[in-house]
Symmetry: D2
Subunit: 307 residues, 4 copies
Amino acid sequence: MNLAEIVKEIVAEIEPHRGEGKVADYIPALACVDPMKFGIAVATPDGECHSAGDADEPFSVQSISKVFTLALALQKVGDDLWQRVGREPSGSAFNSIVQLEHERGIPRNPLINAGAIVVTDHLIDNGDADAAIELLLRVLRDHAEDQSIDIDYDVAVSESDTGARNRSLAWFMASFGNLENDVEVALSAYFRHCALALSCAQLARAALFLAFNGEDPVTGERILTPQRCRRINAIMMSCGHYDNSGDFAFRIGLPGKSGVGGGILAIVPGQGAAATWSPGLNEAGTSRVGALALEALVARTGWSVFG
Amino acid sequence: MNLAEIVKEIVAEIEPHRGEGKVADYIPALACVDPMKFGIAVATPDGECHSAGDADEPFSVQSISKVFTLALALQKVGDDLWQRVGREPSGSAFNSIVQLEHERGIPRNPLINAGAIVVTDHLIDNGDADAAIELLLRVLRDHAEDQSIDIDYDVAVSESDTGARNRSLAWFMASFGNLENDVEVALSAYFRHCALALSCAQLARAALFLAFNGEDPVTGERILTPQRCRRINAIMMSCGHYDNSGDFAFRIGLPGKSGVGGGILAIVPGQGAAATWSPGLNEAGTSRVGALALEALVARTGWSVFG
Amino acid sequence: MNLAEIVKEIVAEIEPHRGEGKVADYIPALACVDPMKFGIAVATPDGECHSAGDADEPFSVQSISKVFTLALALQKVGDDLWQRVGREPSGSAFNSIVQLEHERGIPRNPLINAGAIVVTDHLIDNGDADAAIELLLRVLRDHAEDQSIDIDYDVAVSESDTGARNRSLAWFMASFGNLENDVEVALSAYFRHCALALSCAQLARAALFLAFNGEDPVTGERILTPQRCRRINAIMMSCGHYDNSGDFAFRIGLPGKSGVGGGILAIVPGQGAAATWSPGLNEAGTSRVGALALEALVARTGWSVFG
Amino acid sequence: MNLAEIVKEIVAEIEPHRGEGKVADYIPALACVDPMKFGIAVATPDGECHSAGDADEPFSVQSISKVFTLALALQKVGDDLWQRVGREPSGSAFNSIVQLEHERGIPRNPLINAGAIVVTDHLIDNGDADAAIELLLRVLRDHAEDQSIDIDYDVAVSESDTGARNRSLAWFMASFGNLENDVEVALSAYFRHCALALSCAQLARAALFLAFNGEDPVTGERILTPQRCRRINAIMMSCGHYDNSGDFAFRIGLPGKSGVGGGILAIVPGQGAAATWSPGLNEAGTSRVGALALEALVARTGWSVFG
């Protein structure tokens, strides 16, 4: 299989669709991104990264960061995490508060906003959000073997400035005692990790361990137990794309996570990790062209986990 | 891998849990099933079926039948099916009507009751529910290479007698024009296919094609296109266990479908198909001991699709 | 106060609004009603009926009939009724099924469709829907002192033919054991009483007892206890207009009930009963011009119960 | 009618029920109130106040204050208020957030928490919550002819300390642009007016204008237009007791407002204003014994607006 060739073909294949979808516009920093951008990268266990298009340009990973905070939280607190967040698809939008009321402040899963705030809350000791973010950055830089990875602080500030809905979710959970830290402390870390800027290449490389049972196949470092790794993949499959998670599983058949910055991360167990970037979103907040590109990747490689 | 040995070990392993859970009691025919029953069968592409416990005793497959009607409907009408039923997890109970109201009579997916009634409706031509059921029986007998497979008509009659909730769902969809046939015609077929009686061995054999891209590996018969086969597996992963679908993916990591008769079907792409039977259910209607047995199977075989 | 003059002034006042709103079109018999029709009638305790416009032309009273079946059911079964139906506003549309699921088949109040079906079910003994309807007709004719009142059977048949949503509601309640009679028996009576045809004058006269503590002020006949009469008025105030009941109380300040045939009944405790008819409806199913006319009536008479 | 006698009889009548219900315990200042307290007062247009029991002991009026802020806001901004808050019963608990999501941040009515926060927000100019509270206090003292009325600042601080759920509601509305002031500014005024401490006698006197078309019958001062006064009464009737508003209308038949401090205010158009206090609440947050006392009052006086 010639992945270098395949990613080039995919760039050509999506060409007629470039610019489709609606760029997220709730903060200026996202709204002004060029909608014609497109990048794809596939990291493989031999340490190679096959990429094409704008695969080396950092973008705001937004919700994709929730996968990495989930991994960190499971490393840190283990299965106690599941006392405070579920693992079922929500059947609702990413920022819905309805189920929180019916289910007494326990979010459905760690990949919707409410759940990710709870996960982030677990990463913060003694109210020190900065330390939690530093740890996350250190870990991501190590995984990606790239010390240049950083947060886009303009985006982080904008997230906070426009974060009323997330504040509502956080206060709602706080009212049920489901946050350990002050609401603004937890959100301060949450807004920052959503503002992480990574390129497709960095993202695919940083997530490679998820395709190899929790062990980085290049460095040999064990990051998670095989069981926890499988479970993160399962949660991505069930819940990674809000209320179009089922459609993503149906069309692409890989565990994945999308972000409103236009990125999608997809894990191919035993094979590698793929990342795409195209800012235009569908109604559920998943990159339209990115999903097309991943469909094309699976069609060419046969990488669906479903046969 | 010695599957014959593994299934025996699993019978021993679940022994302390036998009888756990609550047997479905909404119809007498289910309520009087012995809660201590347990069977497991794994069908493999070489035509073998490795089984243990009560694996040859037919039980009421109930909702597991929805997988086979979905396959038939996709063969018959293709992607037009998705005009009338979605493919997203519902986040709700199997018989919930709430989303139908918000989403104007279009059920979330083909594996909740409302969605399965729509799928069944597609199988019926000219109001002839009997012909649809005959076709389903013929197909199942062929897939399972066992002409003795049949419907338990006592169960079918009981289903209909106690079918008020399903009638409500069907009339609700009818009010939005989402049924082609008369409500009682569609339900007549629905109640009968839910009353199919298969053993674990028959069930695993009948579903084997789903593990091999839609082609029966024993007979070589192509039943579905590879793409449709993958998609059915994806829907089982996302939606196969109602509001504990996410937990099933998390714990077991295989596409599957549970029924309130206590059966679970699990597909292992490229390897085989497994079926378990234990009547006691968890709160969401999935067999408790059956899920434990499948966890044990995955632990011993490494068969999770997630790594 | 010269009511004869006032009703004439109101006809003039609403003239510029005639034809506003959207005529119910779910059955042909309603859809073909002339949208320019307008009638108003006010029955007073001296036996007079002050009317203007099309006040003597019978129209389909639809949900207004629920007030009379409620009165009959309270006479028949007393407070046991409240075991099977609530008395809270639903905050939802007239035909919503969502709350039924959350509240296990007990409708919120007797004036939404589900609640009215339960009320009707109480009126039927031994499965004899015909007898229940005969009783209702006899009672209405007596109250209105007009033996010509009847059901429009064309409308009743159409209601049944298009009654899928009501069938869904009824089966849903049946699934929780909240119907005594067969679903089709209960609905047969329900569809017929909704198809009652009364003129504004007949309607106002028939409901006059509700303004006088349950006693007909003309004949002196006691129909209900004062307490039950007050309670029916309270329920009309809280729940008489589906999800615009609050707005009706806010604007008009009288207990009332609207029907999708364009009629509105309003009770003025101690003064009389008013009925209007104008087929165009607002989004919640209340007659637009009828509500304007009642606002004008209250402005001229000071009849709001709120001061 | 001897109201002095009637209120004494009512104290005797409720005696066997004293202490029933559950005292609000979400803040210590409420939790430690003696559950055996009971007071009743009826203010009449002649300037008299007929009272019995603990009618002169100030208690935390909590949500009853929402009636006075609503009156003030209507005086200040008029019907523009209805752009940002509805007037329909919610059918939900006082602090529910579900409808806010479905209805894009517009609360159902001014008497649920979310709606009252919006109303309070209207009272605040230039972010000066203190000025808004000073105005409210001045107005209440004038209405009640009692300059000693004040806020219980311990309660206000506790409300704020435990105000996570209200913060969530406020941020949710802010995310839809439905608050003019900063969330904490609006809440600062909201928590303080909920902490107002009035006795039954003060409360009945302060609300007397609502029974007389907006004019204080003792001083002759016009406070509201008759129309706005009627409308406030209508909203109290439809929405004054959260999800048991319908039951209150059914049993008592008067516009009213309950607070979790155990108070209930009831308006008798044309007759007077009544207030009761008994700390034990029913499941919906309305004083159990207070509601019984008002039922007894209406039974003795025939004061129901429904006949």
